[in-house]
Structure formats: C-alpha cells, structure tokens
Amino acid sequence: MPPKRITIRDHSAEANLFARRTVITLLGIVGLLCVLISNLYYLQVTRFQDYQTRSNGNRIKVLPVAPNRGLIYDRNGELLAENRPSFTLEVVPEQVEDLNQTLSELAALLQISDEDLEDFRQELKSQRRFKPVALKSRLSHEEVALFSANQHKYPGVSVEARLTRYYPYGETLTHMLGYVAKINKKDLQKLVEAGQEDNYAATYNIGKQGVEKFHEDRLHGQVGYQEVEVNNQGRIIRTLEFQPPTPGEDIILNVDVKLQRVIQGLMQGYRGSVVVIDPNNGAVLALYSNPSYDPNLFVHGISSKDYRRLLQSPDRPLINRATQGQYPPASTVKPHLALLGLDEEVITPQTRMFDRGTYRLKNVERPWRDWKKWGHGWVDVTKSIEVSCDTFFYDLAYRLGIDSISEMMVKFGFGDYTGIDLYEESDGNMPSRGWKRAKHNQPWYIGDTISVGIGQSYWTTTPLQLAKSVTVLVNHGTRYVPQLMRGRYVDGEIQLNAPRELSPLVLKHPQNWDVVLDAMYGTVNREHGTARKAFKDTKYISAGKTGTAQVISIAEDEEYDAEKIAEHHRDNAMYIGYAPYDNPQIVVTVAMENAGGGSSQAAPIARKVMDYFFENQPVESYAAQ
C-alpha cells in the first residue's frame, strides 16, 4: 500500500485498514490457540496413560511390610526363640532440618549414650537419606511416653514398634540357635546375589549364626506390601491396598532344653562340649559348648566393648566347640580301629599279645609308650579296649597300614563335615599319605601310622563327628546325618522331618560289630574297665570308651605330670558312650579341654547326663518315630 500524502484523515480507509489487521490478528490468535490445544491434546489424550502412570508414581508408594520371623521350639514345645515388641527411636535424615541440633536435644531428652550417637553417625554414612536410621533401640515405656509428648518438636524422628528376637534361655542354646542381628553390607550382597533383596526390603535382622542362619529361609517368611498414597513430603495420607506378609515357619528342634540346661550346669568351669544324639535317627538332643555367651546381646547390636571382650577372651566363647573344636580323638577311636582289624582279619577276637608298656619297631630307636608304664600284660582285643591298652593298637595300626585305616575311618565320618544343619562346623582331619604330601609335602612315615593307632598324630575330630561315628557303631553300620531340626508347625499341626539316612557301612563279617560293642560294654561294666568307676551303680546299662588326648607331645623318657604342666598344655579328657546297651537311645560324647583324664573327668559328666536322661525322661519319648 503506497503511502498517501493527504492531510485530511480518511476515516473509512483507516477503519478498513484496522478491520483488516483485526482479522489478521484474530487469525493469528486462532493459529496460536491451535498450537496450544494440539499440545494439550497431546499431553492429555495421546500421552494420557504415560502421565497417569507418572502421576500415580508420584502419589502411590509401595511400602514393604516385614514378615514375622518364625518361632523356634524345642522337642517338648518349649519356646526357644520368640519375637517381642521393641521400641526403636528412628530418624529419617532427609526430613530433619538441623540434624545436629535435633540429635543433641534428643540425647538430653532420652539419655542417648555417646556410643549410640557414634553408631548412628556411622550408620548415617552408609544409608540413603530417605531411609530411617535407628538412633536408640529398646526404649522403655517411660522413654516412649516422654518422646511422644515432645514428638511435634522433632519432624522426621519417630518411635517405631517392631518385633525383635528374644532368646529366653540366653547362653544355654547360643551355639545351637545362633542369633539374628542387623543386616550388614555383606549380608545384603548375598541377598542380592540370591535374588532375595526384595523379600528383605522391610527386614532389619537376619540369622547370623546357628539354626537362625541355617534355617533363615524357613524362618524369615515372605515380605508383604502396603500400597499407600503419600503427599509431596512423603507423608502417608491413606492406605490403598494391603497385601499381608507371610510369616516365617515355626520350627521345632530336636533339642531338649532341660537336658541342655543340665549339661550347661555340668560344664561350668570347663572349656569343652557335650553332644547327645539319638542313634535311631540322628536327632541332636543336646549340643552344648562351654563357655557360652548371651545371644540377646547381638540382636540390638552388641557394643564394641562387649564384642571385644568376647573376641579377646582366652576361653574363646564364640567358638562352637562341639562342631568347630578339633581334637585328637585319642583312645575313643580304639573300638573303630579294632573293628577294622577284625574285619580285615588282621586280628581275631582271640588274638593275644603281651604288653610290656612299650612298643618297638625294628631299626627304630624310639619306643612308643603305653599310658601304663609297666604295661597291661596279656591282652586280647576286648581287654585292649576295656583297659585302653595302647601297645595293642600300636601294633594293630602298624599291621593295618595308614591306607586301610584312612579309608575305613572316612566311612565313619572322620575328616568330613557331618552334615548337621549348622554352618559353623569344621571337618577335622583324617590323615592319609596323599593328605600329608599335599599339606606338608612330606612322605608318610611308619611312625605316623603307629600314633594314628591311638587316635593321635595328625588325626583330629570334632566332638559331633565323634558322636556320629558312635551312632554308626551302635547301629551296626546304619548311618544318619545329625539333625538339629525336628520338624515344623504347618497350620498348627506338627510335621516331622524324615531322618536323613546315608548308605550304610557294610562289614565283611557283620558279627564283628558285637565284638567291639561288647568291649565298650566291658569298658563300663567289667572289672578293669576304664569307665567302671564313673558308671558305678547306674540304673541303666551303658557302654562307652574313654580317651585322654595329649595336647603336646611328651618326650619318651618323661612322665606326664598334670600339676607341673601349664594349664593349657594339660591333656584333653574325652568320653564316648551310649545307653541302654541293649537298646541304645542316646549317644553321648564329652570333650573337655585341658581337664586331664577321660575316665576321671569326662566319663563322670557323661554319666550324669545319662542319669538325668533316664531318670527324668520317659524313654519312649525319645524313641524313633
């Protein structure tokens, strides 16, 4: 439009121009509105699902709900591990404005120790900021009330009621039950590897030792979920859906806690262990290691002072001596060796030899000594077991050779894990030529074999292994895996586990079983038996074998004098036994460190265990299922 140079305004032309421009702007508005509307259409219609999901993601949080841990009972229904409500003061770091200020005020209000604060700060570093961190556990009801009255001053701090494990029998069952404690990084890593991370999303504690650890999968249960609506502060507005967790299984152990307590009493003042097994099925009726400790200390996080004390104690209470203690079996394995000799026809029940107190090999300067300096005189295999004659077994071992011994003893379970439902177990050592070559890079000497004949040399075993081997003896070769778990409650009904039976140990001449069992009978009941004194006048008939293991080797011309030797170098006292002789219900092994002789120290304890067992318990209740 060319500019017109006119002085008089052309109002209609101006109005037309304005109208044209108005139409153009209106068209422009329509265009912009189209852009706006198409974008809104895209957001609200095309991508509706997407944004709805994100909106729900904002407001809906799925919170895991921890399952209640399964309870643990003994065979008579005594509660061994229970869950008790416990109040914990928790802080969500993200929601606290001034953490230091809050902490110092809370510390004054609830008397929070410096150690708790230290632990809290440690924990804080490793946790994500929106996860609650425990500041103080086991609040008393007074403390809960005190905090509740002041809670409004401390946003982000709350008292959480949680069920936590409690072991009413304390140290009596520690090495068997183990304990639960806080899930640490290593546990978490294992859970991730096992794909169990989600299942433990709400769980604080996990089995660390013993049955609690071994049967963790049964005891833990399945996590539940709570779907909640939250606002932008993360505060829960309402619950939308609740999928309850599946509680862990309540399990029953074979242990008889009363028997276990009797044993605990008997073992006070000693370092050692007692194992009681039902030979008819491998059920572990008692398994006690002394000294013990209170597992409840660990549940809420043991203080570093207490932990150091346990860790540094020379008595090493943390060790489960029944399954982890590795001792020379000493004379307790003479029945096993005798059985091998008989079955390999190296000896017969009638084979006799004269014991002068020493055993010599040709071309070997050094003699092997019998524990009885002047010897036992004429002995056969039965008497050798009864009186625990060493010379007879030196000779027997010499004639059997290490290969034969090693092969047979492995069948009894020596040198291998028993298969008990515990992770805290050692395998002991059944020496062989190959083992010595691999371990010490040395050839096997004949002298080594001779010491093996009295359960010394490189031979080590755990008391539980020893007990298992005795069940094989009394069962004439039937082998059961020792089991702590007896069964479980399924909908209120007891469901018992089947015994775990291994392939039996078969002899060439099965009558040989009775020869050695008779000798074990003699040990307890005949005139010269080493356990006769300890088992005098019992109301039941038992059989057994004593053992006294050298902890340090004694020079050939020296005599053992307990008084002169440092306490930690004294002999270990061992005993294996079972009763009743004609219908075995229990196998008992006792192992006592540095206590002295097997017949004087270990056998009396085994007797008291059996006395209690047969006097206080009806035999039927222990019978095979």
């Binding site: 109002h11 101006e14 109005a15 706006l36 609200q44 909106s55 904002n58």
Partner: protein, 371 residues
Amino acid sequence: MLRSKLDPNKRSIWQKMHIDLPLLLGLLTLMGVGLFVIYSAGGRDWDLIERQLIRLALALTVMLAVAQVPPLAYRRLSVHFYVVGILMLVAVLVMGTVGKGAQRWLDLGFMRFQPSEIMKLAVPMMMAWYISRFNLPPRLLHIIGGFLLLVAPTLLIAKQPDLGTSLLIASSGLFVLFLAGMSWKLIGSVAILGSAFAPVMWFFLMKDYQKQRVLTFLNPESDPLGSGYHIIQSKIAIGSGGFSGKGWLHGTQSQLEFLPERHTDFIFAVFSEEFGFTGILLLLVLYCFIIVRGMIIATRAQEAYSKLLAGSLTLTFFVYVFVNMGMVSGILPVVGVPLPLVSYGGTSMVTLLAGFGMLMAIGTQRRLLSR
C-alpha cells in the same frame, strides 16, 4: 440493528452505566471459575477465597470507575501517565525494594507499589496517542518514534528483572503498531532485527535465573528435582487429567501438593488436572468470547486512538492467557505470568480490570466522542 443500538434514545440501562454486559458476564464467569479452582488448589482454604473475593470486588469497582471516564480524557492523559510511569520505573531502579530476587516495588510508606503495572496501561495509551496523531498507516519515521517510546519502559522493566511483564508491555506496544497498519516489509525487518537481538539479550540482559529457566524449558528432565521440577510436575498434572479430568477437588497432583505455585501461576495445571481436555476447551471458549468481544468494541470505535487502545488491550489479554497456558503446559519458558482472572491475587488483577474498564468506556461512550 446496529443503528438502533447506536440510537441515543434507545440506550439500555447498562449502557447508561457504561457497562458492556457481554464483557462483564464473560469476566464474572471466568472469575467464578477461578474461585472454584483456587478453592481446590488452595487446599479448601476459605481464607484464600475471602481474600480473593475482596480483591475481585476492588478490581471490579476500579473497572466500573474507569468505565465512567470518557475515552477523550484518557487520550489527553496518555502522555502524563507515560511520563509519570517512566519516572517511577527509574525510581524503582534507583531506590526500589527488592523482593524475590527482583527490584520491582516502590515503597510508598503505606503500601508497596509496582510501577510496571501502570505501564501495562500507560504504554498502550501512549503508543495509541502517538500513532493516532498521524494519518494511518504510519510512516517509517513514526514507527521508529513508536519503537523508541516502547524501548525505554521495556528495558527498564526487563532490568528489574521482570521478563514476563516487559514481554507483555512490549507486545502491547507492538500490537498498536501492527493494528495501525505498520507495513509488512517493516514487520519483516523488525522480526529479523529482533532475532539478531536475541543473542544480545542472552549475553547482556538476561540474569542467570532467567537463562536457567530457558534452559530448563528446553529440557526440563535435565534437572527433575531442581529447576525442572515445576514444569515436569505441571505436565504430569495436565497429562494425567486426561480427556475428562479427575474431578473437582480430586486432582492428586494438586491435592497432594506435588504441583508448586498451585493457586497462582500454575493454576491452569490444577484446572487441567481436575477438568481435563473438555474443561480446557470450555475455558478457552470463555477467553475467546472476551477477546472477540474486545475486538468488536475496538472495530466499532470511531476514533483511531480508541480503536488502537482497545485492540491493544484485548490482544495483550490474549498474550497473557497464551503465555500462561503455554508456560504451564511446557511450550514456553516459565515466566511469571498468572492466568488472568483465574489465578489468585496480584495487583495485576486491578490493572487488568482497569484495562477492561477502558474497553467498556470505549464501547459505551462512543456517542460522546467528537470526530
């Protein structure tokens, strides 16, 4: 029909009161909608509603008062307004009160006052006065003059910094020039100049937080918890509203407070979440009704000054709506522009309705104008 309405003997009671009924009804409907959304967005707080009602009453009173003034008087006062406004903007820069990181207020002792609000009216008035003095379409010289009048307030307000308002003021002036018939060639060259000016703005005029807003706008997901949070939550609110919305008081994004600035700048997101796409269309119909009504008043005005002023005010109102909806739905960067008539609070409500008062004056007082 048109003639009869112009007949002085047949003036309705509304015309006697200088009220444009359709415009008034449109405004009241939008305000009513706004009250409902504020009630929902503000967590059912009656205090908010009360305060908003007082503000609306005040603004409507101002509108009615302004409507009584003859347009001729506005024309005469244009220069005074403009000069006073510029002086106050300079005063703000020199001695203004700082709030929310910007220097926008003048403390008058008894109240705090935002001079940029005056400029929202003074700039279109001044521009219309200046351009309407010459024959239309304006010549290049006059256009340049107009630009110069526009540059000063725009830069002064942008410097405060208040990018949203300076944008609105600049567009109100540009609308005057466009409606006056600025030639397309010139428009083209200005557009090119403008785009050349953009980098200058970026590097010399824009504050860091403004740059951040633009960057966030371009990619909100880059900082979902920080500066991108507003826009992400807003888009979630709008998108999850779907076709028919979650229902009044049932918008989870707003009720559970995920959405920031719910009852002020982002109220459109609340509305979209609760009333959905259909609600938005109805809301836009209401806005369009007001805009069309404003443009009708502008075209009917006999005098160039009134036409330009009415047109500019109406189109700026549209810019308000478009910029707010655009920023909340993520097609424009976040500048602090409320949704007119619906958002809670603000002196802007008074200014806005004063503008509508002028529109009504122009629409109902044509008879009193001399040619």
